[in-house]
């Protein structure tokens, strides 16, 4: 029983929660394509950092994969055309938060083959670490796990820091999401190639691929693919939320803590999402840009949940229509239900950081519940993966004692996983209060 051996050896962190997974809706569905949309909206800021600068004009014809916006500085990435067609507008569009942000709108040519013709294939053997990092920036690559942090920045640790360990994050601990799971099953070779490229760029001694033990098929696939004695190892980690958080993974796999307020590079670690290295392994040899990604579209609010290869810039309403958006939808999320964002506008496009679109129906969202006073049950204390005291922090937030929250109760170490609010029997919006408190503190410090 090799699976059982994996399970018993699963590594983990202390605390955390076990929400219902709901992954069975889509985990067995292979990645599929959808028809092309009537128009595409490519936002210039799909990543953390400075927005990209458009290099095309209105009315210009572009081919699929062609550069349409260039990176503005180091912490920025370029954008490529998701379809062959014509630029209909270089202006502003609504993002999922309802802000008007710079964008390029394209109309695909109905008769076009939509083959990716742009790109300069390259041989990988002679690439230096720096060339790999530059190639990754040219691809427009960002962390596909949700944070959308430019990958090349992550691969350029500050001077004086050496990276020994590369952790490839295949946990996918958010309920409902299965895009990483499918990518691991379907693009194993690309992931291994991408991992070795990223490892070379970093000069990391070891690379470990962490997969939650609720995906025995992915674990088995990589046990098969990874040759014995390879520089890459595969580790099973316990199925527990938020196992896929950087801080939790370094503790589970390496027994090391990322220092408070620091970066993984401070302890010689870089953590990268599995789909990200998969795309690096696919696109870098071809010299192509990132123009589409695998998105899990799921929830009871749609009729045909599945994993879809979606061109970036696909309008959400078009996508939902394709998968059978039904009348019962009550909430639409970008990302998973624990840390994802509620979407306000359905004409907003899919961006690089969207790993899942969860359409929750009435039966899936928790009905509005009464908020009770804190009964000091300690559930939040037992859930918090950072070992904070959310019960105390919540009380301080209610009394507007924000400075004390930060100075005496480590508010800034909270990474907003939401475990505390999930378990609270008094239905106190704990993590929401913390988010608000951090915002107020940030505002106060900039004013000063």
């Amino acid at each position: 029983m090799p699976e059982l051996a994996h399970l018993s050896a699963s590594k983990t962190f202390s605390h955390g929660i076990h929400p219902e997974e709901h992954k069975e809706l889509t985990s067995a569905r292979p990645v599929r394509r959808l028809p092309f949309a009537p128009h595409y909206i490519v936002l210039m800021a799909q990543h953390l950092g400075k927005p990209a600068l458009p290099v095309v004009r209105k009315g210009q014809e572009v081919i699929r994969g062609e550069l349409i916006a260039r990176a503005d500085g180091f912490v920025s990435v370029p954008m490529h055309a998701p379809v062959t067609g014509v630029v209909t507008e270089v202006g502003r569009s609504l993002d999922c938060d309802g802000r008007m942000v710079p964008s390029i709108t394209l109309r695909p040519y109905p008769g076009a083959t939509q083959e990716v013709l742009a790109g300069e294939p390259r041989t990988l053997e002679n690439l230096s670490g720096q060339e790999i990092v530059a190639g990754i920036q040219a691809m427009g690559m960002v962390g596909l796990g949700g944070a959308a942090f430019p990958t090349h920045v992550k691969l350029s640790p500050p001077k004086g820091k050496t990276v020994n360990d590369l952790i490839i994050n295949g946990c996918e601990c958010e309920p409902y999401l299965t895009s990483d799971h499918r990518v691991m099953l379907e693009q194993g070779e690309a992931i291994l190639l991408g991992t070795s490229l990223v490892q070379k760029a970093l000069g990391a001694k070891r690379a470990v691929l962490a997969i939650e033990d609720n995906k025995p098929d992915a674990l088995a696939e990589f046990s098969r693919l990874v040759p014995p004695g390879s520089a890459i190892t595969v580790a099973a980690v316990k199925t527990k939320y938020p196992q896929g958080a950087e801080k939790m993974l370094t503790r589970a796999l390496l027994h090391m803590d990322i220092p408070s307020g620091g970066l993984p590079a401070d302890i010689g670690v870089v953590v990268s999402n599995v789909a990200t290295v998969g795309e690096v392994g696919t696109l870098l040899p071809r010299g192509q840009g990132l123009i589409e990604r695998v998105v899990t579209v799921t929830g009871h609010g749609i009729d045909r949940p599945g994993n879809y290869l979606v061109p970036l810039g696909t309008p959400l309403d078009f996508l939902l229509e394709q998968v059978g958006f039904n009348g019962s939808a009550r909430q639409v999320l970008f990302g998973g239900p624990m840390m994802g964002k509620s979407v306000a506008f359905l004409d907003t496009p899919v961006t690089k950081g969207v790993s899942g679109i969860v359409v929750l129906a009435e039966d899936e969202i928790s009905p509005p519940r009464k908020t009770y006073p804190c009964i000091r049950c300690g559930e939040c204390v037992t859930a918090c993966p950072i070992h904070l005291n959310p019960s105390r922090l919540g009380l301080l937030a209610r009394n507007s004692r924000f400075e004390e929250m930060a100075s005496s109760y480590n508010l800034m170490d909270c990474f907003e996983c939401g475990s505390c609010a999930y378990v609270c029997p008094s239905n106190i919006p704990l993590v929401q209060l913390f988010r608000l408190s951090k915002g107020i503190l940030r505002e106060r410090s900039t004013k000063r």
Partner: protein, 342 residues
């Protein structure tokens, strides 16, 4: 499809919840107490039934009037007042005068809970605050025990039950000493099996250890009770009373007797585990339980009273903030121990 746009709601994450509410927690604890309550009524008859109904209703009514007078939102819907009343009734002698039960219930809710700010803000277990008040005010009534399984228990209730307020109650001819009092004052032991199944006299709800343990196991299985607290108390009682027993077996009772007699089981499973008044930290709950166990043994064996569970738990409650503070866990990525608090 456009028509669906309007029905979409916006929230901030997390969008899922475990779905457990305070109300469910309290109701489940009451369910877990139902077998104990049924046994109490079966053992002691009408008097016990009247007493339990009186304390429960008075607690709920007191809280309702309090919130009403203060023009606050009513809070009795969270079931915590009903739970306090039921627990108070279960810790009183079966033939306890009802009017005293009413006073105890009012004190429980007002002094034990509402003046601190209501649910979640109290320092001491409200039911035990009420009982401590009664113990100080009516020392005779609260140590007058009626016999278990009296043949006419379903036809008549004890005359003391219906005693008029502030008049000297008629003392019942039959009164059964509790196993602990028998032990303390006349060195008579009771068979542990009788204690386990509840065939002795004692407070209304404390006599059947097996039903209390079953209720506790149910709650622990539903994750509504911190099983470490009763376990710590029992281990601590067994350990410390074991030391006394080994030193002088003819003077002190054996640990099994200590565990199954008096209010220990009821206190350990249903009182000490009150979420509001027990520590938050993993190490803290062990210290808290151990301390309560030690205090029980000290009061029972060295003090003047035959029973010490109530005072032990109240003292444990008083130590809770200190224990929580001393046992804070290390924050991830720092060397800082958080001053965990109640």
């Amino acid at each position: 499809m456009k028509s669906n746009y309007l029905s979409i709601v916006l929230r901030t994450s997390p969008h899922l919840s475990r779905g457990l509410s305070v109300e469910t927690v309290m109701r489940q604890v009451i369910y877990a107490l139902l077998p104990v309550t049924a046994m109490a009524i079966y053992t002691f008859g009408q008097s016990a039934a009247l007493l339990l109904i009186t304390t429960t209703l008075t607690c709920v009514l007191t809280e309702w009037i309090y919130t009403r007078l203060g023009r606050q939102e009513p809070t009795i819907g969270d079931w915590s007042a009903a739970l306090t009343g039921l627990l108070l009734g279960l810790t009183l002698p079966p033939a306890f005068p009802l009017w005293m039960g009413v006073i105890g219930s009012i004190v429980s809710i007002l002094v034990g809970k509402m003046i601190f700010g209501g649910l979640g803000c109290n320092i001491f277990n409200p039911a035990l605050v009420g009982r401590a008040f009664l113990q100080a005010s009516f020392p005779v009534a609260i140590t007058t025990w009626s016999e278990a399984f009296a043949p006419d228990r379903f036809q008549y209730c004890a005359s003391s039950t219906l005693a008029a307020p502030f008049l000297r109650p008629m003392v019942d001819a039959v009164s059964g000493a509790t196993p602990l009092a028998a032990m303390k004052f006349s060195h008579q032991t009771t068979i542990v099996g009788d204690l386990f199944f509840g065939l002795t006299s004692g407070s209304t709800g404390e006599t059947s250890a097996v039903l209390i343990l079953l209720g506790g196991l149910y709650l622990a299985w539903r994750h509504l009770l911190d099983w470490r607290i009763p376990l710590a108390i029992m281990l601590s009682v067994a350990l410390f009373s074991g030391i006394f027993w080994l030193a002088a077996p003819d003077r002190y009772p054996d640990p099994l007797f200590m565990l199954f007699s008096g209010g220990l089981m009821l206190g350990a499973v249903f009182m000490a585990t009150d979420m509001v008044t027990s520590p938050l930290t993993p190490l803290g709950v062990w210290i808290y339980g151990g301390l309560i166990g030690l205090l029980v043994v000290v009061i029972r064996l060295l003090g003047g009273l035959p029973e010490g569970v109530m005072y032990a738990i109240l003292l444990g409650n008083a130590f809770t903030p200190l224990i929580s503070r001393m046992t804070g866990t290390k924050v991830y990525g720092t060397n800082r121990k958080l001053l965990s608090w109640k």
